[in-house]
Homo-oligomer: 197 residues x 4
DNA sequence: TATGAATGAGTGTTCATTCAT
DNA sequence: GATGAATGAACACTCATTCAT
């Protein structure tokens, strides 16, 4: 039973961490140190491994997102946690993967919409309206706000090769570049630095 | 000689517009209405077609970027043009393509750094410093500013399936969502709406 | 010890009754409700299970054939019983199986020639000669007579799909078609109907 | 274009002459002296090669059958030709093949029922009725008569290994055994020897 | 310049078989 | 005896690539 888990974790890492989206069963098997046929023994087909692994990863991500919004934290704290979610993603290539895969079958995404997401978002929308009225944040729709945070957080991971090339940054310099961004994103929303305590 | 061009253009569209990043030579040949072997006649290998096509597309993109910064326009106009560059990309899947391809061979990107990019950026960095001093824009490094714009512009294209799923937006609604963003991005930089004239 | 028997019987049914001549060990194991590895535990290999099962089935068939000829019945009764043997075979696909398997290794068949078959046939050959002299039956060699009966009895089972197609007969009509044949075969030999009593 | 034909003919021989019904693409390719991938180049899949080859062979067989019945020959001559069709089949394993394949998908056979077969059979049924009235032949339905001939003709080819074993006949002896059968079958129908001229 | 034919390397998948428990 | 896990060999099939014309 732990081998099944090993294959799944290896596949997640190969696909979403290493970004080898077209990885063959052979590559995954090699990486996991198991026989290629074992993948079929546990998952029947490469596609089912894909689906399983994608499903689980998306569930985890959605769970975290919902967790952030459901918490008792203040508005600013929620935003802070949400930024973290996308700035330090466990799976930097997950989103790229989804984009490339979903081109073929966009309907698949619908499976990843959890039941309680809607109410959570509705409640957050109200909270946002309150904060806008209070003047904590400039007027903005919830959708645009959330997409802004995701954009500012994720894109630098996705476009790493482009950005490194344009600005001639080595890996260390890029690391530093990324570190500055959390506070920068926060400031683009609230016009103030993060209050640590 | 025009067949070579035809193949190249077809490949660009298949890869970067349609997002068929793993397109086979057969698909490209079919789409172009030519024999599959012709691709090898002109480009020797599938990889060389890839490289050529990527090289040209990147050159074009870099050319546009440089064009924006080199122009005689005002600072705000430059920013405006730069936003446009990433919001209405001719090749929505180009960046995804780069990301996925560069994972395998990150050194490749170095080929895409044009000679005059550095001086253009240096000059823009000075212009930015001036505007910061003038208070036109909040203090920010040039790198972070540019990456912010690229993030806010490109990411919603890359992550379209995710965003549509989370917020339950159909294609029409998503289109509208995207339209609002240009001004929104501009406002996030200058705290004012775009001045049309 | 009864599991071994269970596997064997299941295999016989799968191969020779259901006609699934290429059945995998998994299918047989599933049908028998046992673990796939057990088949190898008892029979070492799929081929040995095949051989065992074929051997037993052939022995049983040969036993019946010998039983018919060895009995004290009259000549006509023997023929009648012999017809029955091939018209209502317990294993309709046994012969098809033998044909397809023996192509690969024809020597295998020699294992299925029982010791007492020769004497039984010799004795039947004499009985036939007597009946020919008496005029009960038209002159014919024993081999041809026996093959005729086997042909007329078995072939309609083997060629069922062809015959149904040519004459457009559904399963019910084909059933009726087969029922008529016993008397028809008997008449082709003795020019008279079967005397029931 | 002749390679395609070569593959097809090789496949026919492997399947229907040599009786290697489960032949792999590799075996067929080796036999034909071509690369395995060529089979897919011409026929897309192993199944399509099967279907094509089966279709053609069945069409040919059906054509011959119809040809016999459609001819201007006398009743006895037709029967004679029909016997020939099954006694000296070009593809001894064709029928075995059909039997084993059709177990999986009996509906497939329906494709092999030619349009003009029905009228040809209807006309032959009338001719048979006339001959029965004339006393040329003992009363029998057309279906049973035809199946009898097919049985007596084909079965000895299908069951060759069994028969050789039971009667201990070497290949030469079996050859002789088969030669006797044509006249024997004819006599089982008309109670007289074939009139050669 | 263009094409149909041909090939080798590699992919996902199946399966009989083995092994440790 | 019995089982889940694991493996190697084979299979159909795909694809980029080459070659003769």
């Amino acid at each position: 039973m732990q081998t099944e888990e090993l294959i799944k974790e290896t596949a997640k890492n190969v696909f979403f961490q290493k970004g080898h989206l077209r990885a063959t069963t052979q590559e995954i098997a090699d990486e996991a140190g198991v026989n290629r046929a074992l993948i079929h023994y546990y998952f029947r087909s490469r596609n089912q491994l894909f689906d399983t692994v994608l499903q689980e990863t998306m569930s985890e991500l959605m769970g975290r997102i919902i967790g952030v919004f459901k918490s008792e934290a203040t508005f600013k704290q929620k935003i802070c946690s949400f930024i973290d979610l996308f700035i330090t993603s466990q799976y930097p290539y997950l989103q790229t993967f989804i984009v490339t895969e979903m081109v073929k079958d966009p309907e698949k995404m619908k499976l990843f919409h959890p039941k309680d997401l809607d109410e959570v978002l509705t409640s957050f929308r109200k909270q946002l309206a309150v904060e806008v009225r209070k003047g904590t944040i400039a007027p903005v729709s919830m959708e645009q706000l959330i997409v802004n945070i995701m954009s500012l957080g994720s894109y630098p991971y996705l476009a790493k090769p482009i950005i490194q090339t344009v600005f001639i940054l080595d890996d260390q310099a890029y690391e530093n570049f990324l570190k500055e961004r959390k506070n920068l994103i926060y400031r683009s929303i609230f016009n103030e630095d993060i209050q640590e305590e």
